[in-house]
Amino acid sequence: MIHIQHLNKSYKTAAGSIPVLQDINLHISKGDIFGIIGFSGAGKSTLIRCLNRLEEPDSGTIRIAGKVITELEEKELRQARQKIGMIFQQFNLLDAKTVYQNVAFPLEVAGYRKAFIREQVRAMLDLVQLSDKEDVYPFQLSGGQKQRVGIARALVNQPDLLLSDEATSALDPQTTYSILELLKEINRQLKLTIVLITHELDVLQHVCNNMAVLEKGRIVETGSVDKFFLYPQSDTAKRFVHIIDHYREKRNVWEGAGAGI
């Protein structure tokens, strides 16, 4: 589904160029929910934004569903983007448009007929359980509801791939859980590939099958989520999983001493 080869990206500043992504190689299979984890500044956001070229990589190739994304011209790129949905930490809904209009926007951009749009938008709002909010403006919605609209907008044009840029980081744990459940449901129902970046282990453990660890712009570990938790290899992974080990030890000590919780 996604092949990334030798991807490099650096930011040019007055002080010189700062590498953000260095020789990224990654393969993500169709239908997978793939997590990319890393600390702040590791380059996660830049990496996911390279996939639909919100950021232009310096070199390397990205292939998505057979298309070499990195070689597309403006017009082809816009068409490719119609088949790559994206959701954001800050939701990025349009305040001037109602829930219905927000979700309809990608289909209008794609030039579909009104009747078709209505059908698709209604179906999508049904899926994210916001059918009763059609004519409401985003301002009136809770964070979780806003992200549901974001998801509906990202999926309404039936993309092959959904990119999630810290989509649950602005939400409380309860809401995060319900959004993650929704993503899992969508992955199952629509056979949709999902790539998400996060700094929360919870998110990773809850929805992802496979994952990569990003550290200072390099991928230092890839594999199944189970492997990550059981046998963390990289420094970053160890630091993430450390806290779990800490409590496991604590429990052993407690149980050894015959204390209850």
Partner: protein, 222 residues
């Protein structure tokens, strides 16, 4: 009260409204085109073109740095070319439009820049063209700020028109200078001042109401 006062004021008022209306319209068209171009072509904009951006920015700053009265004098030949005369309200429209357009462009530029980068990225991520982003995202999202800014712009044009009145443009400004000041007609002076103040209040109130109704529609709790 002199019988001619009402006639004078009525004629002055109509001339002022005429100048403000057409100057605002032309200045707005130019201002929107320039303001949108500035935002779109800036570095990191939706259609970056640094050279175009810089050129427009420089011209705008150049025009804005001239005192209005000098600008009007400079533009007299252009007025003659377009409307055939350098006197009267119609001639003033040429100078007022060109004088106010750079001011309006900056106001419009600032309003559009308030739209968060995230919203624009969301539109880019669904494959929208720059054209669609400008008309379906940028302008609608910035609308309340745009209306407020344009209100300031129109009131500015109203003030400009009074200044232009001093050098033959007609309107309330001209009335205040020619009758109130040069012919010692205090009744004319005071009445024009009151009229100008009322006009500005009405413009401000209308702009505020429109902006408020947009905000209320989008940001209300039920």
């Amino acid at each position: 009260m002199n019988d001619d006062l009402i006639d004078l004021l009525w004629k002055g008022l109509l001339e002022t409204l005429y100048m403000v209306f057409w100057s605002s319209l032309f200045a707005l068209v130019m201002g929107i085109i320039l303001g949108v171009t500035l935002v779109v072509t800036e570095k990191g904009g939706i259609y970056p073109a640094p050279a175009v951006n810089k050129a427009i920015g420089t011209i705008i700053n150049g025009v804005r740095s001239l005192p209005l009265i000098i600008l009007i004098v400079l533009l007299l030949p252009l007025s003659r070319l377009i409307v055939g005369t350098t006197l009267g309200p119609t001639a003033a429209i040429v100078s007022l439009s060109i004088g106010a357009a750079p001011f309006l462009s900056r106001i419009i530029e600032n309003s559009l820049k308030e739209v968060s980068a995230g919203k624009i990225e969301a539109a880019i991520s669904v494959g929208a063209t720059p054209f669609t982003i400008i008309f379906r995202v940028l302008i609608p999202e910035a609308l309340p700020a745009l209306v407020r800014g344009i209100t300031i712009g129109i009131i500015g044009i109203m003030e400009f028109s009074a200044v232009a009145g001093a050098i033959g443009a007609g309107g309330l400004g001209s009335l205040a200078i020619r009758f109130g000041y040069q012919r010692f007609r205090e009744d004319v002076l005071i009445s024009t001042v009151i009229l100008i103040i009322l006009l500005v209040q009405i413009f401000q109130w209308s702009g505020d109401s429109i902006a408020k109704s947009i905000v209320k529609k989008r940001y209300k709790f039920e």
